[in-house]
């Protein structure tokens, strides 16, 4: 139990530190790497929760695919380190106050909530699969459809002869005429 708690604090520390690094790092590559650390820590948290399946999914989807995708996007866009003017100081402080206030609100709500904790039961892949392929089979299919549509849409959007640029000259020509 104590060992689990120690590991929880380790993962929590890595997750929060990575998140802070994500929002404060000047270089975008560093921010992406900090986010990667957070994702790994969250996978560890899923392991602590006893759900190996979610931990594996987290590593595959987030830790693997998304990190590579971010790095590719950085390469394609030339990785302008801090493009545009920096955010105004007042905006930063306001955002900090908003985020801190929201955190405080959540903490107060959690403290007074009093959830009914049930005795622990093993949560294995079978438990997930039983529900996913019986009660949630329609959402499952819709999720697959949504992924396919998103994939096709992403290809169309990011094509070499891009749609956003292709329409623009026609629009300008129309204004001239």
């Amino acid at each position: 139990m104590t060992l689990q708690l120690a590991f929880f604090y380790l993962y929590a520390l890595v997750a929060v530190a990575g998140a802070v690094g994500l929002v404060t790092a000047r270089q975008l590559v560093h921010a992406a790497m900090c986010f990667f650390a957070t994702l790994l820590a969250v996978a560890g948290l899923f392991l602590l929760l006893g759900s190996e399946f979610l931990a594996a999914m987290q590593l595959f989807v987030y830790g693997g695919a998304m990190t590579v995708l971010v790095l590719f996007a950085l390469m394609f866009t030339g990785a302008a380190p801090h493009a545009g003017s920096p955010t105004r100081r007042s905006v930063r402080w306001l955002a900090l106050v908003v985020a801190a206030a929201f955190f405080g609100l959540l903490a107060v709500a959690f403290a007074g909530a009093g959830w009914k904790i049930s005795p622990a039961a093993p949560v294995d892949v079978e438990a997930i699969a039983t529900i996913m392929f019986s009660r949630l089979v329609v959402p499952f299919e819709i999720a697959g459809l949504a992924l396919t549509i998103a994939l096709i849409g992403a290809i169309v959007l990011a094509r070499e002869d891009d749609v956003l640029g292709a329409v623009k000259p026609a629009e300008e020509a129309g204004e001239e005429a």
């Binding site: 689990q4 708690l5 929060v16 998140a19 994500l22 929002v23 975008l28 921010a31 992406a32 986010f35 957070t38 994702l39 948290l45 602590l48 929760l49 759900s51 987290q58 989807v61 987030y62 695919a65 998304m66 995708l69 971010v70 996007a73 950085l74 394609f76 866009t77 030339g78 493009a83 545009g84 003017s85 955010t87 905006v91 908003v98 985020a99 801190a100 929201f102 955190f103 959690f110 959830w115 009914k116 005795p119 949560v123 438990a127 039983t130 996913m132 949630l136 959402p139 999720a143 949504a146 992924l147 998103a150 994939l151 959007l157 990011a158 891009d162 749609v163 956003l164 329409v167 623009k168």
Partner: protein, 102 residues
């Protein structure tokens, strides 16, 4: 002993850091990554509630899987839009993007 509150507070912290990132950063890519951080915090919440409050039916864990699917789709589309925007004009900051309409 790890309690439910441990996970909830950690997820709330991650959520609020992501919120700060969304509100302050001007780079489109960083905004998208911050949104992913927020989704990750929600994932932790869902999984923790599922394990602690309703461990017999793993419905919350299923929600996590669905949320990962939606997050992946959203992330791919967002990156495609960012790449398309960079290609048309050299746009770095999101406050200079004035139109997304074709």
């Amino acid at each position: 002993m790890i309690t439910l509150d441990h996970y909830l507070i950690l997820a709330a912290a991650l959520f609020c850091i992501g919120l700060y990132g969304v509100l302050t950063s001007k780079n489109a890519l960083r905004v998208v990554i911050s949104v992913e951080l927020i989704l990750n915090a929600v994932n932790i919440n869902l999984a923790a509630f599922s394990v602690y409050v309703a461990p017999r039916e793993a419905i919350g864990l299923n929600f996590v899987v669905f949320l990962m699917v939606v997050a992946a789709a959203e992330f791919g589309l967002a990156l495609a839009i960012i790449i398309a925007l960079y290609r048309t004009e050299d746009i770095g900051a999101i406050d200079t993007i004035r139109k997304l309409r074709g």
